[in-house]
Structure formats: structure tokens, C-alpha cells
């Protein structure tokens, strides 16, 4: 089947697709967007996280053809000019990236969190990121990176 997805602000044609293909597969294998990662393919690891219709979801559990007409945002779309976002830079600065496999999912989940809740407590960060599994870091530096951005943005909003 053929359909059009709206990914990172642009219409992308998908051709010769099978109806049951998940969005993760279509993003990676048909559209060449390799940020979202495939690991469990059952919604347990969060490494495939993207936003569909403004909501954070596991792209492996979205039937791609059912996402026609909805805006889809992947990590590639967070920074159109290629420069890292404040959160991506904070992950680097805090040492929150080790093997890096979970990082794109965590980046989009943490952006989603900070957009909805600019000043999350540590418990809130842990609960909001509980769908993103990291096997390297132990999460401490990831939480620190999110807290750094939260504080930096607060200062930007109100320098006094």
C-alpha cells in the first residue's frame, strides 16, 4: 500500500508497504530516519519513542498506516539545523550517554516531559522516564542532565 506520513514537518511518501508495518520500521527502513531504535518491539524499552499527534508513544506499537494525517516528530526533527538541543548538549555534558542506544528515546521523552512540566521533581523525572530503559548509566546522570536543563531554562525565563 501507498500512503503519506507527515514527519518532522515534511510530507514523506511510503510506497509498497505492508499494512501491518509499525511506524518504527517505516521510519528506519523506508524513510532512512535512524534515530529511533528497535530493541524489544513490544513497548517495554522506549528506545523507539517518538511523538505522534503531540503525544509521546512507542513507534513500534503504532501501525504506520494509521498515523496518516498526524504530525510525527523524531529526534531528527528536534533540531532542524543539525545543532544539538539544550537537552542533547546536557546529556553530553553530564555524561548521560554511554553506549547511546537508549539515548534518542530518552531525549525525545525528556523533551516531552519538560514541555509539559518545566520544573519536574526528581521523582517526577524518574516516573516520566520509567518507560525508557538504559542498561549502562544507572540513570543518575540522565536525571542530572534533565535537571540541568530545567534549571537553565528557568534562569532563561527569569534571569533575576
Amino acid at each position: 500500500m501507498h500512503y503519506t506520513l507527515h514527519v518532522n514537518g515534511a510530507d514523506r511518501e511510503v510506497g509498497d508497504a505492508w499494512i501491518g508495518e509499525n511506524l518504527l520500521y517505516v521510519l528506519r527502513e523506508r524513510l532512512g530516519l535512524l534515530a529511533a531504535k528497535g530493541a524489544c518491539e513490544q513497548g517495554e524499552c522506549g528506545s523507539c519513542s517518538v511523538q505522534v499527534g503531540g503525544r509521546l508513544v512507542c513507534s513500534c506499537l503504532v501501525m504506520a498506516a494509521s498515523a496518516v494525517g498526524q504530525p510525527i516528530v523524531t529526534v531528527e526533527g528536534l533540531s532542524p539545523d543539525g545543532a544539538p538541543t539544550d537537552l542533547q548538549q546536557a546529556f553530553v555534558d553530564a555524561g548521560a550517554v554511554q553506549c547511546g542506544f537508549c539515548t534518542p528515546g530518552l531525549i525525545i521523552a525528556a523533551h516531552d516531559l519538560l514541555d509539559r512540566n518545566p520544573d519536574p521533581t526528581e521523582i517526577e523525572i524518574r516516573e516520566e522516564l520509567s518507560g525508557n530503559v538504559c542498561r549502562c548509566t544507572g540513570y543518575g546522570r540522565i536525571i542530572e542532565a534533565v535537571q540541568r536543563v530545567s534549571i537553565a531554562r528557568r534562569i532563561d525565563r527569569d534571569p533575576s
Binding site: 500500500m1 509499525n22 506499537l61 503504532v62
Partner: protein, 288 residues
């Protein structure tokens, strides 16, 4: 072979009638796991249409009638919406259950109607629906019928849904009394229940309802434990004796029929029921 995205309930019902073998897609968090494992690969490819229900406003909305103390949730209302106010304020136990469903990503997609449609014994919302005596509204092009949730759940992943029917809504009472949900699993987040329980109290009718998940082929109520507690609770001081709390847990476990599987043993599940039921009753009646 196509994905249909109806934008009204009437349109969805016509499409279901025209495609009787169609796959109904709600949040996708159960169905896509199966498709990813290729369990449903061939049937869809060969003959089925997919009817995606996320854009049907009658399914994704809810209404509340506080004069009659009824809340009606469209089948497509997500866990993310249920776990927050205002729905949380009317059915707090359902909000607690919602907060234990998968992860934030899963709760943004998964729906209460999908939980019922899948009808897993471990469905997180189902013990709450059973404890609240929820009523399931089923519609087709030929009519509408309502079923108590206990009759809707037939067996492990089996429901009373007929061909051509769709789960339209779940009708719930807004009770007046404490209610809570408890779940045991191997970790706090992102876990399927080893055992779960919901206790709900209604003061005007002096009823105490207890339902258990993951310990029988479908959700079970605990009539003996309920009757026992209703008799022995002091409704004025909201208290109950500690020996009675323990006995309540034992009676609850007698209503369970747990199996041993890859997630746990029957003995552990029965013990978990005893502990959860006792703790829930103690929280509901904390007076001394």
C-alpha cells in the same frame, strides 16, 4: 486491504458491517505486539481491513452526570487521561490502576476499551471495573446492548463481543467512599501484574466490593470476603479489628484460583491476594 479511519461512530459501524473480519485498532499497544511477533501477519495481509478507531469522537470522549453519580467513559479514552483529574477525582481507584499501566508512552496510546477488548486476566483496569460493577455498552448497526462487565469477560482473552459489535463505552458509578488499587509485580514501572486487587467502598449503600486480577481466568469478585467485611466494619468510626482484617485477606484468597506460570506460582499469588486485600481494607477503614 486498507486502513480505514472513521471519524464518527456511525461511520465506524458501517465499515465494520462491510468488513466483518476487520481488525479493530484502538491504542495498538496489545495488537501491535502480536503483529510484531507475526501472529496476525497472514490474516491481515490476505483478507482483513484495519479499522483504526482513534479519530472517532464518540469513543475518545467522556461524560459525567454528577446528579445521578454516573461517569461514562468512551472506549477510546486513554490511560493518560484517566490517571489525571478530573476523571481521577471520580474514580480514584481506576486512576491508580491507570498509573500502573506500562509506561507513559503506553498510557498515551492504550485505552480502557482496548483493555476490555483484550480481556487479559492481568488487564490493569479490569479489577476496578469489576469492583465498581461497571456496565459495558456494545453497539452495532442493528442496535445497542449493555452488559455488566462480569458478563462481558468470558475467559482468558475471550469476551461476549459479537461480530459487528464494538465496545462503545463503559458506564461507572461515582461512589461515595474510599477506593484503591493494589498491584504486585517484579518491579515498580513497566510491569504486568503478578496479582492485583481493587477495593471500593460506598457509604450510602454500605457496600464493600473487592475484585482480583491475574489470579483466575477472568477477574473475580470476592462475595464471602465482601459480606464478612460489611458485617464487621464499624461504619461510624470507619474501623475494623485487626483479626478481622486478616480474616478478610484469607477469605479473599479463597475466591482466587491462581495458576503457576512463567510469572509466578499459585502459592505466591494466593499469598499476594491475602496481603493486598488486608492492606486495602485497612486503608479503607483506618479508624481504631
Amino acid at each position: 486491504m486498507s486502513v480505514l479511519t472513521p471519524t464518527s461512530l456511525a461511520m465506524a459501524l458501517e465499515q465494520i458491517e462491510a468488513n466483518p473480519n476487520a481488525l479493530l485498532l484502538a491504542g495498538g499497544t496489545d495488537v501491535m505486539v502480536e503483529i510484531n511477533e507475526h501472529h496476525r501477519a497472514m490474516p491481515i495481509e490476505v483478507e482483513q481491513a484495519v479499522i483504526a478507531l482513534a479519530e472517532v469522537p464518540e469513543l475518545t470522549s467522556w461524560t459525567v452526570d454528577l446528579a445521578n453519580r454516573r461517569l461514562t467513559l468512551g472506549a477510546g479514552v486513554t490511560w493518560a487521561e484517566i490517571e489525571r483529574d478530573p476523571i481521577r477525582s471520580w474514580v480514584p481507584a481506576l486512576a491508580e490502576a491507570a498509573r500502573t499501566v506500562g509506561s507513559p508512552q503506553i498510557r498515551n496510546a492504550g485505552t480502557i476499551g482496548g483493555n476490555l477488548g483484550t480481556c487479559s486476566p492481568a488487564g490493569d483496569g479490569l479489577p476496578v471495573l469489576a469492583a465498581l460493577d461497571a456496565v459495558v455498552e456494545l453497539v452495532s448497526t442493528t442496535g445497542r446492548r449493555v452488559l455488566p462487565v462480569a458478563q462481558f469477560m468470558v475467559g482468558v482473552k475471550r469476551t461476549a463481543l459479537r461480530p459487528g459489535e464494538i465496545i462503545a463505552a463503559i458506564d461507572l458509578p461515582v461512589l461515595d467512599g474510599w477506593q484503591g488499587y493494589s498491584k504486585v509485580g517484579v518491579r515498580n514501572a513497566m510491569v504486568i501484574a503478578t496479582a492485583s486487587a481493587c477495593l471500593a467502598v460506598d457509604h450510602p449503600s454500605r457496600s464493600i466490593r473487592l475484585a482480583l486480577g491475574s489470579v483466575a481466568p477472568t477477574i473475580v469478585r470476592c462475595p464471602d470476603a465482601e459480606r464478612f467485611a460489611i458485617e464487621l466494619v464499624d461504619w461510624d468510626s470507619l474501623s475494623i479489628g485487626s483479626a478481622d482484617v486478616s480474616r478478610f485477606g484469607e477469605l479473599a484468597a479463597e475466591s482466587s484460583r491462581p495458576i503457576t506460570d512463567h510469572r509466578s506460582t499459585s502459592e505466591y499469588r494466593r499469598h499476594a491476594v491475602t496481603v493486598m486485600a488486608s492492606r486495602l481494607l485497612q486503608r479503607a477503614f483506618p479508624g481504631s
